[in-house]
Subunit: 594 residues, 2 copies
């Protein structure tokens, strides 16, 4: 049997020279280990995702081809499968193939070209690539026959996906006509909720159905709002998993008989996630969510030359969870937690912020807001006297002023100190209904939890408290008190207004989001739907209708905010991250009034 290396490496879009160096080092190591074959992820030499830089900056392509030439010449006594953007020569075609060069004895013996070009969700293959009209490529090595396919080519398997197939061709069927012993799948497949179960079932199914070995090599890295988890693997001819590389970490795995260490996945992520109904039970996705975000923070910071973070600690859920994620990604000593209480901030919140910082051993600072807010208020009131046009009856001016002043402090600190980024702490439920302030809590260099809904965040906070080495870093009161930005006082209660008083219960909101994203429900279907929240609480149809209308009204006004969200990481099944979901600011879903 051939000795094979799965080179689960991470490369950066356009950073050709470093990418090539990394690839060559792997090849040299593999040669030294007398490996017969080394396999890299999809588009490894170009670095993925690259967006339009491969179109607008043509020098990147020139440098990529030079680098490939250089790698090819030095690749002797080993076979290498290297993903790259292969220029198409004919007119009337897209500029590139999404190819894997198969290199032997200093020559490219063939190019395995991707057939299926996904152009949905976060994928834009069709924008750049021409679909291969040829059969998938095979090659022989010491009497073994390998068939090479690229990522999506495996995801239209007719007997597995049945009527969910979105392409005519099934490249698996095509490659199997040539009877390979082993299928190689070079991939760049981002981690998402509910994806691992499908992936594992599919690969195992194909291996078993055709009695073929199945090798999957995936990128492990973060870029452009996507966490690629790696977890490269091999299935034997019975469909059994016999090797798996690490998750959310680069890896280099050698095997002489295809089998090897089966590294653990994030806890529960191989389990089937219920896609039929909304459930408040997120248990099987919490460890994966945690790991994908921590990985994203690490990589976003280091790849952009940052090592420190500064965030506001309100004593609330969002900032508390963000603080834990940042501490775990960057180290506590690299995180500055700033408590910025206003006159409205409760003592409990102030206290919770402080305790969290102590528990996490963050750098902690308290900066009271009132000395900054007061002169601004005076100035604004003076100015408002001179502006003669219709005012809102209820304004959000002072609420927003607090959030914006906090963000100004965080940005000022990050401007003063080397390699420090301010953090946007707003979550997915808030983003949906625009319940975060522009230039306030939605502003930052990175937004760690922008794709995590509030109810899932509660579950995640509880998970972190129970499963981190140091237990219960997030004060229990943070998990128990109702969420609220503490930006205004409810005149009836004399206490800060809770978010759910302004909006609707988060359990209800999060189920709307889930149904819209996963079942594409419209307003009528939502009205008819029996919500989990309804099963536990008595609400009349009028209130339900009001909440659903409020969702459409508020999310219509929020679309502008979706367009200016900071870089983040997609982690849910679906998202409103603009990398995945496009909605023009000027657009209507339903006519609903405030």
């Amino acid at each position: 049997m051939n000795k094979i290396v799965l080179a689960q490496i991470d490369t950066i879009a356009g950073d050709i020279e470093n990418n090539a160096l990394k690839i060559k080092e792997c090849i040299e190591k593999a040669k030294y280990q007398k490996a017969d074959l080394i396999i890299f992820p999809e588009l490894v030499l170009m670095g993925y995702p690259f967006g339009d830089i491969i179109i607008r900056h043509k020098s990147i392509i020139e440098r990529q081809l030079e680098a490939l030439n250089d790698i090819t010449e030095s690749t002797k006594n080993i076979t290498a499968v290297i993903g790259y953007a292969e220029p198409v020569k004919e007119n009337g075609k897209k500029p590139f193939y999404n190819s894997a060069a198969i290199i032997q004895n200093g020559k490219i013996i063939s190019n395995a070209r991707k057939i299926l070009l996904p152009n949905y969700s976060e994928f834009n293959d069709y924008r750049y690539f021409e679909s291969s009209k040829e059969l998938p490529v095979t090659f022989e090595l010491n009497g073994e026959k390998f068939g090479v396919i690229i990522c999506e080519d495996s995801f239209n398997h007719k007997s597995f996906f049945k009527n969910e197939c979105i392409y005519d061709i099934d490249p698996i069927e095509e490659v199997m006509k040539q009877k390979p012993d082993t299928i190689i799948n070079c991939s760049c497949s981002p981690s998402r909720c509910a994806k691992e179960y499908v992936k594992n079932s599919l690969f195992s199914y194909i291996a078993k159905e055709y009695s073929v070995n199945y090798i999957y090599v995936n990128k492990a890295g973060y870029a452009d709002n996507l966490s690629f988890e790696g977890a490269s693997r091999i299935y034997d001819k019975t469909g059994k998993l016999i090797l798996r590389a690490k998750s959310f970490e680069e890896d280099y795995v050698v095997t002489s008989d295809l089998s090897g260490k089966i590294n653990e996945l994030p806890k529960g992520s191989d389990k089937k996630i219920n896609l039929d109904n909304f459930e408040l039970n997120y248990a099987n996705d919490l460890d994966r969510t945690y790991k994908s975000i921590v990985f994203a923070i690490k990589q976003y910071f280091s790849k952009n030359g940052f090592s420190k973070a500064v965030l506001g600690l309100s004593g609330g859920l969002d900032s508390s969870v963000c603080a834990v994620l940042l501490a775990d990604a960057l180290g506590s000593s690299n995180v500055w937690g700033i408590s910025m209480p206003s006159r409205i901030t409760s003592n409990e919140s102030k206290n919770d912020a402080k305790i969290l910082a102590e528990n996490l051993k963050l750098n902690f600072l308290e900066i009271p807001l009132s000395d900054l807010i007061d002169p601004m208020k005076t100035m604004l009131n003076n100015s408002f006297e001179k502006i003669n046009t219709e005012k809102y009856e209820k304004t959000t001016t002072i609420e927003n002023l607090q959030a914006r002043t906090r963000a100004t402090i965080l940005w000022s600190i990050s401007n003063e100190y080397k390699n420090m980024l301010p953090i946007a702490t707003s979550d997915k439920s808030e983003a949906y209904i625009g319940y975060a302030t522009v230039n306030g809590d939605m502003s930052g260099g990175f937004a760690p939890i922008a794709d995590v809904t509030k109810t899932k965040l509660f579950a995640l906070a509880d998970f972190l408290n129970k499963n981190r080495k140091i237990k219960n870093v997030i004060p229990q009161s943070v998990l128990e008190k109702p969420p609220g930005a503490e930006l205004k006082i409810n005149p009836k209660t004399g206490k800060p207004v809770y978010a759910e008083e302004d909006n609707m219960p988060y359990e209800f909101l999060d189920e709307i989001i889930w149904l819209v994203e996963n079942k594409n429900y419209g307003k009528n279907e939502l009205l008819k739907h029996n919500f989990v929240y309804e099963q536990k609480n008595n609400i009349n149809f009028e209130l339900k209708t009001e909440w659903i209308n409020k969702f459409y009204w508020k999310s219509k006004c929020a679309v502008y905010k979706w367009h200016i969200l900071p870089p983040s990481v997609i982690t849910d099944i679906h998202s409103i991250n603009s990398i995945e979901y496009h909605q023009p600011v000027i657009s209507f879903i339903y006519k609903v009034n405030k």
Copy 2:
């Protein structure tokens, strides 16, 4: 001959009920006028651009089909051509065809389905649509034969575009095989610099080559960063333009013999723009740029329920031009110009801001910054004493603080008053090198000049001074002084630092931008290139190299800012607007150091 209506209307994505109402009103009017045929733009019933709402919100499609059914039933005694998203029934296909329903006597007699699906630049047709594999549709009306094609189907004409064709099929060739008397082209084609000349030449060429009448019906409206200019038109069989609807305005044109009024285009926009070399002469594109931005402002505001704008007036070029554009779009009385001088602001700038506001009859207010900045400075300095990590040698903290405080004031004012939006005044040259402050001058509800470079802005300001009804509203000194944000003092001169001291001459920078966007030049090509600026000024190769490196370094750091730019309007030949150009924050073009 048939009596024909060109219904150059604007519809909003997903706003089916209103779109349908508008379409029906046009049909009723046309019937009343005894017209034989009425033609609407591409996708008029759905409203374009719609992004992913047609995928995620399937109720939109249901409502669209209901509305089409309703329109169809009431369309008797006239033929109507109505663009819509037609569901595809088979599996393994995209969900829709981009179709135009041809309706006669209460029935859809056929669907003209788009063949060529652009997926480059701002276009994403392939994401949603299946390409028609059938011949373009024709229909007969009173002995005349019409062939119907959709937008891009006209833009792959082989004898016109020759080796620039990007598709195999030429639908014009295909439709002409059926020998129609008249081609109908239903379009949604956004206005861009240099586009009109190509469009006009192409349509005229086709009409003449095949001796066919050519009717082009285009949307007039703004959405999702795109200004669609309308300018629907008819060419006769000799290729002569015989009718043209209005530009940047909805229109409804009736013709009995295909000819009619030839409305004027923006001045110069039909002239050929030099795409071979960068020129500082923007003359032929200034009126179009002006009109496309004013149209965009009008539509962005009204479609989102806003009618008033508030902007900072610095006495500089960017804010002055923005003020004129806003005044012309919204009316002077709906624009609030706020001068917010700091200690660094020169008296000249303060004065220029005031004079501009007077000339334009804006609402004007002066709010000095120092009372607001000082307590913030004190607080920050106190905090900085407590933060023990490495500082930058030169920081931008105080510069940015000024810009952010100004934006906070503008957002606060907009939060207080009904229907008012704050304006982001930064320009394209600044955006490229990140010379605008996050949460500062690059923040706002709309960014009117984000796709206009600085040298073009100077030309535009001069054009506005000379061509508006009221001349010279922008003080001459604004046009003459070197641009600068006046956020810091140059210790050598004792004066505020000019932007060109921080960066490079704008003439040089704008030529780099032009070469990168239009010729896809890389670093080596830029180094070899003979810049217009070089022809007039003596610079050595070292300085030139420094500027080019600075461009790559600064634009690398600016990519994050491109991702959070407010909604704007694309108006140049190419842009960095994320609707058109995708670049991941984590990506490399060249390794260059600060």
